[in-house]
Symmetry: C2
Subunit: 455 residues, 2 copies
C-alpha cells in the first residue's frame, strides 16, 4: 500500500470515539481533514447512533460528498431512512445525480416519493427519469451535470460559463456544443478554451463530430471506449441525438473492475465478490453450482460403471482416469480463459471467428500430440506396457482436442446467441470434459483391451 494512505481501522475508532462522546467540534476538525474518499471509508465503519450524530454535526453538502464516494458494495438507500426526510432530500439534492440514483435504486416507492417532494422539481424529474434507465446501460451510469452551449458563442463566453458552472458540473474539462434542437454537434476541451483567443467562436475550436454513446449502449462497451480513447468523460445522447448526460472516467474504472470480476466469477463458477457474507451465505451461494456439476459428473461415473467389467479385467485402466480427465480439463480451462478474455476486450484481437477457431484446433492438436507422447513414454516405461502407453497417449490426444474446442467454442457461442450463461465457466468445462475424456478413453481401451492384458 502507498504510504500516504491512513490507517482506516485506527482512524475509524478515533472518529467513533469522538461521536460517542458527542464532541462535535473536535469531530468536525478531525473528520473533515481527511480526503472525502477516506471519510467514506470511515463512515461505513460507524454504527447507527454514530451515523445519526454525524448527520447532525455535518451539513447535508458534506454528507452528500461522502455519499458520492461510497463503494458500490455500500451504496444503499438505508442511509437515507436514518435521516429526517427533509435532510435526506437535501443530501440527495447535493449529490451528483448519477450517484444519488444509484443509492435510490433500493428505496421503497413510498420513501422515494417523500424525498422527491422536498427536492426542486427539475432535479426530482431528472432523478425519476434516470431511475427508469435499464441497469448496466449508459443511461444508468451517466451524470446529468455537464456544461453545454451553442457553437455561435465565443471562447471568452464559454470560459465565463465554465467559471459559473464549475461548482455544480461533475466534469469541467469538456464543454459540449449543441444546436438549437439540443443535438450534440461537437466538443471543446478546457485546454482549447484556455489557449484560444477570447474572440474565437466555439464552433471554430470544437472537435466535430463528437465521439458519443447512446443511452441504451451497454456499460461495458462504454467503459472500454473511455479507456481506449483515454477520455476523461464521454457524452451520452438519446435516440434523437440529443445530449442528455456524460459518463466520467471514474465510473468507467468501476465498470471495468466490476465486469472483470464478473468474468472471473464465470471462470471459477462462484461470485467472487461474496467476501462480506458469513460462511452459511457463502456456502449457499456456491452450492447450486457444485451440486449441478456433481449431477453432471454422475454421468461420468455411470459411464465408468458401464465399463465396470473392463475395469475388473484390467484394473490398471482405473489408474489413469484422473490423469486423462485432469489434463484435458486443464487444457480446456486454459482455452476458456483465453476466449473469455478475448470477448471482454474485442479490440485485443481483430481476427475473424473462423481464424480464431482454426488456431484453437491447431493449438489443441499440438498440445495433445506432445502431452500424449509424454504420457505414452511415461506409462510405457513405468508399466512396461507399450500398448497401454499408446492407449493412454491416444486417449489424451483426443480428449485434449475436444476439451480445447469446448473451452473456446462454448463462450463464443454463448456470446453469439447473446446469453450470459454460467456454462462458460472453468468448472463446467472441466466437468463436461471429464465425460468426453472417459468416453474416449474407454472406447480406445476397448479396442486394445486384449493387448493390454496379455502384454
Amino acid at each position: 500500500m502507498a504510504e500516504t494512505r491512513i490507517d482506516i481501522a485506527q482512524e475509524s475508532r478515533l472518529i467513533a470515539l469522538l461521536l460517542d462522546r458527542q464532541q462535535a467540534t473536535k469531530f468536525r476538525q478531525q473528520f473533515l481533514n481527511f480526503h472525502v474518499h477516506e471519510q467514506a471509508l470511515i463512515f461505513v465503519e460507524l454504527n447507527l447512533i454514530q451515523r445519526q450524530r454525524l448527520y447532525r454535526y455535518l451539513t447535508s453538502a458534506k454528507v452528500a460528498a461522502i455519499f458520492n464516494e461510497l463503494d458500490s458494495a455500500d451504496v444503499t438507500s438505508a442511509y437515507f431512512k436514518e435521516m429526517a426526510p427533509k435532510y435526506a432530500a437535501a443530501v440527495i439534492s447535493a449529490m451528483y445525480t448519477d450517484n444519488a440514483v444509484d443509492m435510490l435504486e433500493t428505496a421503497a416507492a413510498a420513501d422515494l416519493s417523500t424525498y422527491l417532494k422536498y427536492i426542486a422539481p427539475k432535479k426530482a424529474a431528472t432523478i425519476r427519469k434516470l431511475l427508469h434507465y435499464q441497469a448496466k446501460t449508459a443511461g444508468a451510469i451517466m451524470a446529468t451535470e455537464f456544461i453545454k452551449l451553442t457553437g455561435d458563442q465565443t471562447a471568452a463566453a464559454a470560459m465565463q460559463l465554465v467559471k459559473l458552472q464549475a461548482r455544480q458540473a461533475e466534469i469541467i474539462y469538456y464543454v459540449y456544443v449543441v444546436d438549437q434542437m439540443d443535438r450534440l454537434t461537437g466538443i471543446v476541451t478546457l485546454r482549447d478554451l484556455l489557449t484560444a483567443p477570447g474572440e474565437s467562436s466555439v464552433a471554430q475550436l470544437m472537435t466535430s463530430p463528437a465521439v458519443s454513446v447512446k443511452v441504451d449502449d451497454n456499460q461495458e462497451d462504454v467503459a472500454r471506449m473511455i479507456s481506449d480513447y483515454n477520455f476523461v468523460a464521454l457524452p451520452v445522447v438519446d435516440a434523437d441525438e440529443k445530449l442528455i448526460g456524460v459518463i466520467t472516467v471514474d465510473d468507467a474504472i468501476d465498470v471495468i473492475d466490476e465486469e472483470s470480476a464478473e468474468d472471473y466469477s464465470g471462470l471459477a463458477g462462484v461470485d467472487i465478490d461474496e467476501q462480506k457474507d458469513n460462511p452459511w451465505q457463502a456456502a449457499f451461494k456456491r452450492l447450486p453450482w457444485l451440486i449441478t456439476l456433481l449431477l453432471l459428473g454422475m454421468s461420468t461415473a455411470s459411464l465408468v460403471a458401464h465399463y465396470d467389467q473392463m475395469v475388473s479385467e484390467a484394473s490398471i485402466l482405473a489408474v489413469f482416469i484422473s490423469s486423462i480427465t485432469g489434463t484435458a480439463g486443464n487444457a480446456g480451462t486454459q482455452s476458456l480463459a483465453v476466449a473469455v478474455r478475448r470477448l471482454a476486450d474485442p479490440e485485443a484481437d481483430r481476427r475473424s471467428l473462423g481464424k480464431i477457431i482454426l488456431t484453437e484446433i491447431l493449438t489443441g492438436m499440438m498440445i495433445g500430440l506432445i502431452t500424449g507422447l509424454a504420457i505414452m513414454l511415461i506409462v510405457g516405461w513405468w508399466q512396461q506396457n507399450i500398448v497401454l502407453g499408446f492407449v493412454i497417449g491416444l486417449a489424451m490426444f483426443c480428449a485434449i482436442i475436444v476439451a480445447n474446442l469446448a473451452g473456446s467454442l462454448i463462450p463464443l457461442l454463448m456470446d453469439k446467441i447473446g446469453v450470459d450463461l454460467a456454462v462458460a465457466s472453468g468448472p463446467f468445462i472441466s466437468t463436461l470434459s471429464d465425460l468426453t475424456s472417459v468416453l474416449i478413453y474407454f472406447n480406445i481401451a476397448k479396442i486394445f483391451l486384449q493387448f493390454i492384458i496379455s502384454d
Copy 2:
C-alpha cells in the same frame, strides 16, 4: 459496440489504398479527420512501405500523437528504426515522456544513444532517468509534464501559468504546489483556480497535505488508489518528498486491466493475452504448465495404482474417483477465485486473516456436508449399497474441506511471502486436490472394504 465507432478494418483498407497510390493530400484529409485513437488503430494495420509514406506525409508531432495512443501490445521501438534517426528523435521529443520511455524500453543501446543525441539535453536526461525506474513501479508509468508553482503565488498568476503550459502538460486539471526544496506541499485544482478571486494566494486555496505516492510504489497499488479516490491524476514524489512526476487516470485504467488479466491468467494457468500468437507459439506457452501438472497428476495415478488390489476386488470404487476429485477440485477453484479477488482489492474486505480463514473452513464444512449427503443418497439409492454411499459421502466431505482450505490458503501464503508463484492457479489447486482426494477416498474405503463387497 457503440455505434459512433468506425469500422477500423474498412477504414484501414481505404487509408492503405491512399498510401499505396501516394495520394498525400487526400490521405491527410481522410486520416487526420479520425480521432487520434482511431488513427493509432489504423496505423498498426499498415505495412512497412505504407508506414514509411505516412511518416513522410505527416509531421513528427502528428506521429507522436498517434504513438501516444498505441496499445501496450503495439508499443515497440521497431517503429523508430523505420524512420530517419532525426525524425525519430523529433517524434520522441513530441511524445509524452512516459509513453516515449515505454516505447524506448525495447530499443538497442546504440539506437537509443543516436536518438538522444538529437533530443534537447534536458528532455534526453529525463528519458534516461525514467528508463532506469523498475518496471511495474510508479516511476515506470509516471509522466513528467505537469504544472507546478510555489504557494506564495496568486490564483491569477497560477491561471496564467496553466494557460502558458496547457499545450505541453499531460494534465492541466491539477496544479502542484512545492516549497523551495521542490517538495510537494499541496494541490490546487483547476476548478478551485477558476472560481477563486484572482488575488487569493495559492497556499490558501490548496489542499494540504497532498495525497501522493512514492516513486518505487507498486503500480497496482497506485492504480487502485487513483480508482478509489476518483483522481484524474496522482503526484509522484521521490525519497526526499520532491515532486518528480504524475500518474494519470488513463494509465491507471491500463494497469488495472493488465493486472486483472494477470489474475485471470493465474486462475487458469495460461497467459490470457496470448491472442496474437500463432498456434505453435500458443501451444508452447501453454505446454509447460500442462506437462508440470501432468507429472504432478502422475502421483495421483501412482496412488491409485498402489490401491490396485482393492480396485480389482471392488471395481465399483473406480466409478466414483472422478466424482470426488471433480467436485473437490471445483470447490477448491471457487475458493481460490474468491481469495485471488480479495488480494487484488484489499479494500473490498477489511476482515482479519484469521477471520477469513475461519470463514473459509466453515464454508468448506457446510459445502462438504451438503454435497456429501447428496452423493451419499444418490450412490446409496443407485448402487443399493448404503455403506458405499457413506464411504463416498464421507470422502467427499473431507476432500472438499481440504480443497477449500488449499484454495484459500495457498494464494494468501504466496502473498505473505511476497512471491507471485503460479501455484496459486485453478489447475494447480485442482491437480493437488486430485491427489489429496484420492488419498482420502481410498483410505476411507479401505476401512469399510469388507462391508462394501459383502453388502
